[in-house]
Symmetry: C2
């Protein structure tokens, strides 16, 4: 991996957020010349502390993918763009769909137009979400499943996928799409639950608080540790031969939510699980059971998730114990 | 149909365009209280002459679905909204994707938010496009086919579908989605080819000009006459029991393009067919052979296309012969 990334110029949008900063940290370690872009959208995951470990070996630009001249300046001369910046809250996208549309559709077009104009040879990796599938009755979901997004956020992430595929096909842009499953790990915001429920449960456990599980908790989830997601980004970024392809990035193994949460409580040594009835709104936009088929990523980029749940949870718990005041 | 629509308050967006004005004409004839909204987007199909036949029995509002206070005022008190207004040019969507995003994603959200706030009980019929499927290797395409849009326009129409489905599921909006195949008939713009190639070929035939067919012309197309599309809108609008459903609206029969164009030339008595090589850009965004499976529309709204190609072409040719100066 070092062979490829050492000295490479790499731009990460959403670079101070959960996925972006973990990726940027690794890139900096590999010797890449990393630029992080983040608009620090209030209430989102952007956090300057996320680059504390590598701030001397990366450049941070506060700015927005909706800013056209800025995007043209930033993409110019870059080798790889990891396009992770987004409005990422499901519930906010239903309360204020305009903001989601502005960032996740218009903003994405803006970024693609900037690449087309200022750097048509750039390698682009677009971070999409397993949310595009919505509620699917199949138990194992491959990339040929019909997406049925359940909210405005997921609809717009799907549009973002198609924009990247269209620009790959029509304009020859070397863009690849990753449909990333629920992630967990260090550097995520921990102030509220809407961006990732497993990290939120970890906070509740560390606070020795009640962890409310909707229903019996038997809904199956496919959680993937952030280091595995980072690997998937890196492997996709160095593979120049899969423009327009879409890959599931997930553990490929489903576990009942209740099993995962029990493990969190056990490893943290604190926190209590309580079962509560499903709130009406959550039930309506819940995606149901989900396990992703990940063999395509294995085939095309030689990737699979390798971190055992226990290891991922232990690292996550240790990180937040140590850095609580930066995230609480 | 009169029983349902007589006295009903009906709003048609894109009401001066091709599909909207044909529908509005029929609605006015059925005794509905019709309001047409159209922003007369330059270069698009909006044409005041399209309502010449029924201008005394309908109200026209010049305005834009992107205007929030206007949309709230207009949807208030309406029984049915036929949501047809859109940026509809494939090629323009690739040249200026911002405009397409603004109208076809943000504009649609704006309209749905207006319904949610000012008239949550309104019946909504959203006009989507078979373009959402893109290039599909299956010969007969049903609604369970994975959409792979080939341009920004088709991507955003697909996003518009999902918005309507999401608002139906989450907010209880009674919205249904029609994926309309290539249409032809009276009241379409005839100034340029990018909105519908069959009508354009009819113009060329009437002008006794060359009709350029890309390649051998054996690409299979599913053309549906506008009166049949109007029937589909009307039948969907009166069916209150299919929120969130998506229906193909097409003839269900495929014909090679060359066969259709030969019929145009024969019926017009003028025009000459010439074969030319595929231009690169067209090839890249061409959808390939397409025939839609239409049994779901048969099952849910009791609709199928009934106009023979010959009859549709004859009526279309007669209309434009008589009204040439209004459309050329």
């Amino acid at each position: 991996m070092t062979d490829f990334y050492k000295g490479k110029k790499v731009l990460v949008t959403g670079g101070l957020g959960f996925l972006g900063s973990n990726l940027a940290c690794r890139l900096a370690g590999l010797g890449a010349k990393v630029t992080l872009l983040d608009c620090l959208l209030p209430g989102h995951g952007g956090n300057l502390f996320n680059m504390a470990d590598f701030k001397k070996s990366a450049r941070f630009v506060k700015g927005d993918i909706r800013n056209k001249p800025l995007m043209e300046r930033l993409v110019k001369g870059q080798d790889v763009l990891f396009n992770i910046g987004a409005q990422t809250s499901h519930t906010d996208s239903m309360k204020n769909p305009y903001l989601d549309v502005d960032i996740n559709t218009r903003g994405q077009i803006n970024l693609l137009e900037a690449c087309k104009k200022a750097n048509p040879g750039i390698r682009v990796v677009y971070c999409s979400s397993r949310a595009v599938y919505g509620s699917v009755s199949k138990r194992v979901i491959d990339e040929e499943t019909v997406p049925r997004p359940l909210d405005v956020y997921a609809t717009n992430k799907l549009a973002g996928e198609h924009y990247h595929r269209v620009y790959a096909k029509v304009f020859g842009l070397n863009a690849t799409i990753l449909r990333v499953a629920n992630g967990y790990g260090p550097r995520a915001q921990m102030k509220e639950p809407s961006f990732g429920i497993l990290n939120w449960f970890i906070r509740l456990a560390l606070d020795d608080a009640q962890i409310k599980i909707f229903g019996d908790g038997k809904q199956v989830r496919d959680y993937v540790y952030v280091d595995d997601i980072t690997d998937a980004f890196l492997k996709t970024g160095r593979n120049m031969k899969i423009p327009g392809e879409t890959l599931n990035i997930a553990s490929g193994r489903g576990l009942p939510l209740i099993t995962i949460v029990k493990e969190v409580v056990r490893l943290a040594g604190t926190g209590r699980i309580v079962h509560v009835p499903w709130p009406d709104t959550n039930k309506k936009i819940d995606v149901g059971d989900f396990v992703a088929e990940v063999s395509k990523a294995g085939r095309l980029i030689g990737w699979r998730a390798t971190t055992p749940l226990r290891d991922g949870l232990e690292e996550t718990i240790a990180f937040y114990r140590q850095n609580k005041k930066r995230y609480w």
